[in-house]
């Protein structure tokens, strides 16, 4: 572009390169000459006047524009308006299909979520409980609680053997035959009975008390449906033919035996395991 400047009259250079001068893009070859031309022109405000002119020219031209139908006519040069409409309809239909599919997918997902939530709720709150009956843990706790407050916890506080037996025999909903010790040593008095309902299992409890001792001592005979083998494995003991298993905690000893075909008995007290076994042997058979 600088080559052209050499062939131009000074006046043409001055006005022909105004844009480049204002943008700072004058070719180096004419930059020096241009400054001289600008001074010689005796028009100190030439740049400002040109900028104003160019701005007004652009503004004035912007008042000319095509209308919508004129633009549409130009667009129709490459695509028939009816085809364009068809294409747009096809695109709209595809979009609508996409929206319908995504809506359906959302609904299916929502339905699945709701069903899953209901299922989870049923499993959590309404379904069969997976809580297992843990006799040693539960009944160990019950024995301690009965020791502390037997009056509140025994449904039938009674010293009457017949009455207690009848209570247990007629207790509704038991799937086993509650056991009582037949001949407990006379030092132990019958103190009452109750049935504990754990939902997963019902447990019959008969309580005995040794009043003659300085500190009244209690003994609990629990019976419930099940097999001895359901309990945690333990070294078996044998007290005159009574096969039993022994367990112990810090406070109590427990012996367990199969008191009937589908009934397990637990005797829990603060006596030693052999003493508990002696009591159990004496009372077994009922």
């Amino acid at each position: 572009m600088a080559q052209a400047a050499g062939e131009l009259r000074d006046d043409d250079v001055l006005y022909g390169y105004l844009t480049e001068y204002l943008d700072g893009e004058l070719p180096a070859a004419i930059a020096g000459k241009y400054d001289q031309l600008l001074k010689a022109a005796d028009r100190p405000a030439l740049q400002e006047e040109f900028q104003t002119l160019r701005g007004r020219l652009q503004l004035a031209l912007q008042s000319y524009y095509l209308k919508e139908d004129e633009l549409a006519a130009l667009a129709s040069l490459v695509q028939d308006p009816r085809v364009k409409a068809t294409v747009e309809n096809v695109k709209i239909a595809q979009l609508e299909r996409g929206v319908a599919v995504s809506t359906m997918m959302r609904r299916v997902a929502m339905g699945t979520f709701v069903v899953a939530a209901i299922g989870a709720a049923v499993v959590k709150f309404g379904g069969p409980s997976d809580v297992k009956f843990k006799p040693l843990e539960y009944l160990g706790y019950e024995a301690i609680a009965l020791e502390e407050d037997s009056r509140e916890r025994l449904n039938l506080p009674s010293h009457d053997l017949k009455e207690v037996r009848q209570y247990l025999a007629t207790y509704p909903g038991l799937d086993f035959k509650p056991k009582m010790l037949k001949n407990v040593p006379s030092t132990w008095d019958l103190d009452g009975a109750t049935v504990i309902d754990y939902e997963v299992a019902k447990v019959a409890v008969v309580m005995y008390e040794r009043r003659q001792s300085r500190n009244p001592e209690k003994l609990f005979h629990f019976s419930f449906a099940g097999k001895l083998s359901d309990l945690p494995p333990a070294d078996p003991g044998n007290m005159r033919g009574l096969i039993f298993q022994t367990y112990a905690s810090n406070e109590q000893n427990v012996i367990a035996w199969q008191s009937a075909n589908n009934t397990v008995s637990l005797l829990i007290g603060r006596r030693s395991a052999p003493e508990l076994a002696e009591i159990a042997v004496a009372g077994a058979g009922d």
């Binding site: 052209a4 131009l8 007004r56 031209l61 524009y65 490459v78 695509q79």
Partner: protein, 156 residues
């Protein structure tokens, strides 16, 4: 088993249509203004625009392959060619708008140079190419037009 017929799909080159609508059609107003600067007539400007776009639409396939085709340059060149081919379309300058009054004293070459560079924003080199002038010719037409406009201190 009966099958439903496939839906009719319109036959058109979507890629070229998109090129035209996205790259060229948005410049229609710019070309219309360039055409007006040439003809100083609304009808003449319409005619220039229509012919320019007709020309471009006929060679869209070639333009789509040309990586350095500047849509604005292509359209201004087509508009200028259309003006020259029709001698201005026979439209007489009408109206007394400020822009008409300002441009009317200029020769068409001056109007073309000013409209292409100061109006549409082409570079002088690009303007020289699309108007089919040498650079010296372009600078002469441009300088002359600017000088006249500034001398007359036109009020746009």
């Amino acid at each position: 088993m009966a099958t439903s017929p496939k839906p009719m799909t319109p036959q058109f080159d979507e890629q070229l249509v998109n090129l035209f609508e996205e790259q060229y059609l948005p410049l229609a107003d710019t070309i219309y203004r360039f055409g007006f600067a040439l003809t100083l007539s609304l009808d003449g400007a319409h005619s220039c625009v229509r012919q320019a776009f007709q020309k471009v639409s006929g060679k869209l396939k070639d333009l789509s392959k040309s990586l350095d085709a500047n849509p604005k340059s292509v359209l201004i060149e087509a508009c200028w060619q259309a003006y020259k081919d029709t001698k201005g379309g026979g439209a007489s300058p009408i109206g007394q708008s400020a822009i008409t009054s300002a441009l009317k004293p200029l020769p068409v070459e001056g109007r073309a140079a000013v409209a292409a560079i100061d109006g549409a924003g082409l570079s002088p080199a690009e303007a020289a190419r699309v108007l089919s002038w040498s650079e010296v010719e372009l600078r002469q037409h441009l300088a002359s037009a600017r000088r006249t406009l500034l001398r007359d201190a036109v009020q746009l």
